[in-house]
């Protein structure tokens, strides 16, 4: 044993391995593959990006499956309410006021004698469209402001950040009430959406500014500049995609909060016009009936809660998927 050890150490010094007596040597066949084929990037396949990874881990998350199914159902109800009920939500018959459930009217009637089930079904469209439209506008506008401020810095950042601070200091609900009071006589879904967006873009702008600032100084950005790409191309090709994750999380979660905000505005009497079937309006109408007929209040509240819950759960699932650190 001691003998063979010394032999090896001597031999390694010479970089020639002498076959020891009785020891087999295995020599791999000479690899004829050119280096290019091993090392080159397989361009025919899509690279495993952060998004692909996130999607793969999200698919298995029960939170995502449950909220995904719920959101799908809510969207179908919102787009095709006619499948779920044949009753006109605006057909109200006062003699039926607060009647209990009967055939064709599974949830009974509200104070005006309108069918509660039908109003819950048709209310989905209002809430979902307010939520989605507000989120889209907020994300686009806040995203652009935040990206420009974070990327260009300097005086543009200073100006945009002060404007952001001003809007940030005004509570959303309060600002929305004042503005909607101006349109009191003629509110519509679009006006509510625009007003919510007017006071909601700030958070998105702040978050995307922060993550753009962070992504701006990373090496790939410098590399891209060295390769001769313009700042604007850098911004949209490299910085924004890398700063997108926190915005997506915020977007999914805040969609629910815009739905709640719309309902709250309707509750305060400055939201949607009474002609629009909405959960917020129905809850507001039913508040005085809590002691007489609580179920008229219960069903629209339940529908609202399930919708908001579904979007918040979706936000959680997206967050888990996009933030590998939070995976357990």
């Amino acid at each position: 044993m001691t003998d063979s050890n010394t032999t090896i150490s001597e031999n390694t010094n010479d970089f020639v391995v002498q076959p020891l007596h009785g020891q087999e040597r295995f020599v791999a066949p000479i690899d004829e593959t050119p280096v290019q084929e091993v090392d080159s990037v397989d361009e025919s396949k899509v690279a495993s990006s952060m998004w692909a990874d996130a999607w793969r881990s999200m698919r298995k998350n029960p939170l995502f499956i449950v909220s995904g199914i719920l959101i799908l159902i809510i969207l179908i109800v919102a787009i095709f309410p006619g499948i779920f009920t044949k009753v006109d939500p605006n057909y109200c018959n006062l003699p039926q006021s607060l009647d209990g459930p009967s055939s064709g009217h599974p949830l009974g009637f509200n104070q005006q004698g309108c069918d509660v089930y039908s109003r819950v079904v048709y209310g989905a469209r209002t809430s979902v469209s307010v939520g989605i439209l507000t989120t889209v506008i907020v994300t686009l506008f806040g995203g652009i402001v935040g990206a420009l401020a974070g990327f260009y810095g300097g005086w543009l950042d200073a100006v945009l950040s002060r404007i952001t601070d001003i809007f940030f200091a005004i509570p959303m609900l309060l600002g929305a009430i004042v503005v909607l009071q101006m349109f009191k006589t003629s509110t519509s879904i679009w006006k509510v959406v625009l007003v919510l967006a007017l006071f909601g873009w700030v958070t998105t702008a702040r978050i995307i500014r922060g993550s753009v600032l962070e992504a701006k100084n990373l090496e790939f950005n410098t590399a891209s500049t060295a390769l001769g790409s313009s700042p604007l191309r850098n911004l949209f090709r490299h910085v924004v995609p890398n700063a997108l994750a926190p915005v997506i999380v915020l977007t999914t979660t805040s969609l629910g909060s815009y739905i709640v905000a719309e309902a709250t505005l309707s509750f305060l009497g400055v939201g949607l016009p009474t002609t629009v079937v909405s959960w917020g309006g129905d809850i507001s109408d039913a508040q005085s009936l809590l002691r007489i007929d609580p179920q008229v209040l219960f069903y629209p509240s339940l529908a609202l809660a399930i919708t908001v819950l579904a979007f918040i759960m979706m936000g959680d699932a997206v967050k888990d998927a996009l933030d590998p650190k939070s995976r357990v």
Binding site: R162, I163, D165, I166, F167, A169, I170, P171, L173, L174, G175, I177, V178, V179, Q181, M182, K184, T185, G256, V260, A263, T264, F267, L268, G280, I283, Q287, L290, R291, P294, L297, S301, L304, A305, I306, T307, V308, L309, I312, M313, K325, S326, V328
Partner: protein, 308 residues
Amino acid sequence: MGKYLLRRILQMIPVILGTTLLIYALVFALPGDPVRAMFGARPVNEAVAAQIRSEYNLDKPFIIQYLLFLKNALSLNFGMTFSGQPVISVIGRAFPVTIRLALMAFVFEGIFGVIFGVISGLKKGKWYDSVILIVSLLLISVPTFVTGFVLQYFIGVKWRILPVTAGGSPGFLDLLMPAMVLGSVSMAYIIRLARTEVSSNISEDYVRTARAKGMSNRSVIMRHILRNSLIPVVTYLGTDIGALMGGAMITERIFNIQGVGNTLYQAILRGEGPLVVSIVTILVLVFVVCNLVVDMLYAVLDPRIRYA
């Protein structure tokens, strides 16, 4: 630190000016003539109307009105409400009530939010973790006014545990239920925040080191996990004081509390510019100052952050 503080205070000035200007412009643009509305159904006496207009500076152009408002506000003279009371005395009556309400909500959400959040973060996956998580999700997804009605109905009307509404000069018990309702959504957010923080810090290297040193479980949790997990919670709580005072609008309406929210809501409905702008200015001040305090606290709590 001193330099940073000074810079932040200077930065507050444009924010406050901008916010008041924005709100002033919005209120100015409100439709309807408040002076005409004061006459009600009676015929408008143009001479009296003109006199009232000049008294409230309503006959001057917008920007002059705003500058006059600013000039007076600096000497704490916020003018008169349309019903002839000094704005400052209306504010003086409304603010103590709302401050009490907001502080009670603050204590409620702070204590219960942290306790439930930490328990649930330490025991992730246990049945009570799931219960806490589901309840907090429900509190977030049900609008405050629904939570308010339901609590009011059960606790106030049906079981008669607490007073149904609060009335003129509310005491501790009168405000207990409104404070719980007001703080419920924030409490749910704190629970979620504390839970995420605790459960991610629990697997950090320094926690393992502390355990390896032979530190007791109690000290590990108190000194290492909690100290690090509660920094974001403190930040959230700090910014929430301002939000609570603004959010009191809904709660105060449900429980009929004569606080800032109710006063403000009615002032908006009546188009009472001076009152609306005065209240909003104070709310914004509270909010901005709270944010500053939070940033300062951040540096104290987290030694890694130092402001130059």
